[in-house]
């Protein structure tokens, strides 16, 4: 079954067909799907009949002589391998002293075990308040980890096993697609992000995930993801430009269209607001910088802002907030006081 549209093949020469992966696959290992595809192709582009038939004919005749190894050769080689790989036979005389080779073997074994233990330990990366880290995963996927967050994953990743990470806080994921464009994705190609309240399944996509205080927010930039809410119901699919919000305690689920890039602007040290109330901004400050925020005028919570502000430093953030919200910000130890101008 070809992933390329039929029109691609409409101008193929015989040689083009002979070199095409999907065409070769069809001639050598036909399936009902691929048969249907190529029959439909020939109906749509009858002028290509000749080239297709020529290529088929040649491929069908490209059958080669095979040399089969005699059983004796198969067995001899294996016999030699067994001898080379087996441990030496034990000595005739038993000495009380610990022989050197046994000591070396023990040390090697211990080192190998230590190494194996080390490799079995998961990798755990934390960011402190106001810190951001870029992490490259074993499959070359990239995660930008926001402040006050944690990412955990197995040190070694094996192909044919799904890729998994565990995250707390916020991260922007750029997941590498494992397959070539034509090939059928396998279940083991999946990349799964585990949060406390849900799990995200992807193949190869870019998305922003945030889970704070058991409230999850996922924004998809490109590709396709499926979210598993751990409730034994079917997964929820997201399209690019969609945001999913899930409050586990109330089991409240909301999906809406957003400008995806607004939600990963933090990776470029910016924050984008769109009629965002001050209350939300305060939550971001608390989660990202670890401050306790005190509003000295309760009416302030209703103020909203729209626009982009730079957060390359705390000072920049507070200055920008002062200007846009028209407030006065004072810092005392670990507490931020926000008051009217």
């Amino acid at each position: 079954m070809s992933r390329k549209p039929k029109s691609t093949y409409s101008s193929f020469t015989t040689d083009d067909f002979l070199l095409d992966d999907d065409f070769i696959q069809w001639v050598q290992h036909p399936t009902p799907d691929s048969d249907a595809f190529w029959q439909q192709f020939l109906l749509a582009y009858p002028a290509q009949r000749n080239n297709v038939m020529e290529a088929r004919l040649l491929l069908q005749h490209l059958q080669f002589e095979t040399s089969h190894a005699p059983a004796t050769v198969f067995n001899n080689v294996w016999g030699r391998l067994e001898k080379s790989i087996a441990l030496p036979a034990p000595g005739r005389v038993r000495r009380l002293r610990f022989p050197k080779w046994a000591a070396a073997a023990c040390i090697t074994a211990a080192l190998v075990l230590a190494g194996a233990w080390w490799y079995a330990q998961p990798v755990s990366i934390r960011t402190g308040y106001g810190e951001m880290k870029k992490i490259t995963l074993p499959d070359s996927s990239i995660v930008m980890l926001n402040a006050n967050s944690r990412l955990r994953y197995a040190r070694q990743w094996h192909s044919r096993k799904i890729r998994e990470v565990w995250m707390e806080g916020e991260g922007y994921f750029d997941v590498r697609h494992l397959r070539r464009n034509n090939a059928q994705p396998q279940p083991s190609d999946q990349f799964v992000v585990h949060l406390q309240t849900l799990h995200i399944h992807v193949l190869g996509t870019s998305f922003n995930v945030q889970e704070r205080r058991r409230q999850a927010r996922i924004v998809l930039n490109s590709g396709h993801i499926e979210v598993d809410l751990n409730d034994n119901l079917s997964k929820i699919a997201l399209q690019p430009g969609e945001m999913l919000q899930y409050a586990a305690a109330e089991k409240k689920l909301e999906k809406k269209k957003v400008t995806a890039t607004n939600y990963n602007a933090w990776t470029s040290r910016q924050l984008v607001f769109n009629t965002t109330p001050l209350a939300d901004v305060i939550r971001t400050i608390e989660d990202t910088y670890g401050y306790k925020v005190v509003l000295q005028d309760s009416l302030l919570t209703k103020r909203t802002i729209s626009g982009t502000i730079s957060i390359s430093s705390e000072q920049m953030l507070f200055m920008a907030l002062e200007t846009t919200f028209n407030v006065k910000i004072t810092k005392e130890d670990n507490t931020i006081f926000i008051n009217n101008q």
Binding site: D15, E54, L57, H61, L62, E65
Partner: protein, 211 residues
């Protein structure tokens, strides 16, 4: 009864020291590797030694190997090629023969004369002759692509070429085979013969399924 493992599964288990997985890998790949080796030389002792050295090396270096380096099959084929070339070079030094380009003896299977149709028999002959006009490298590339079904990047890795060069190599080879064999078939005849082949294959497939 053991379920069927993928190459990568076996490889992963083998890396952890699983001797059964190692044995299964040997079982699975010995014959294809032997078949490939036979194309380079008729010296069965050399082939046997190469296979032994390859599997021994694989066992010995398992603590340093990655889980599934690309594809297990690609890794093993590339490695046996290296072992064979290495031994062939050593042999040439001993016998003082001129260092020819290594051969690749690829022949058509004479047994697949499904239809004793005269035209098809002629096609077989033309194709067999055409195969001889290719360079050894071209024949090897054809074998790797159309028989072992390696991808272009995998073949490139094995032959030490760029992907582009590999594509060109195979492109020219298959084009030449085509020009020297089916180019003089008439369109009607092609359709007829392909249809006949198709029908015959349809009857043969059920036989294989029930074997």
């Amino acid at each position: 009864m053991r379920e069927s493992y993928t190459d990568d599964d076996l490889w992963t288990h083998f890396l952890q020291g699983d001797k059964n997985a190692y044995a299964k890998l040997y079982e699975r790949f010995f014959h294809p590797l032997y078949n490939y080796a036979c194309k380079f030389t008729t010296n069965t002792a050399l082939i046997e030694d190469s296979l032994h050295d390859l599997f021994l090396q694989v066992w010995k270096s398992r603590l340093r190997l990655n889980a599934a380096p690309g594809s297990v099959k690609n890794y093993l084929f590339k490695a046996i090629r290296h072992h064979i070339f290495h031994k062939l070079k050593a042999e040439q030094k001993n016998t003082r023969t001129s260092a020819d380009d290594p051969v690749f003896d690829l022949r058509l299977n004479r047994e697949t004369e499904i239809i004793q149709e005269e035209q098809l028999a002629r096609l077989q002959q033309q194709l067999a002759k055409a195969l001889v006009t290719l360079t050894p490298r071209q024949r090897e590339a054809i074998f790797l692509r159309y028989y072992e079904n390696f991808s272009y990047p995998e073949i490139a890795r094995m032959l030490g070429l760029s992907q582009k060069a590999t594509y060109k190599l195979i492109g020219r080879a298959i084009s030449q085979l085509r020009k020297l064999s089916i180019a003089d078939f008439t369109p009607a005849l092609i359709t007829l013969t392909t249809l006949l082949l198709g029908l015959t294959i349809l009857t043969i497939i059920p036989v294989y399924i029930f074997k």
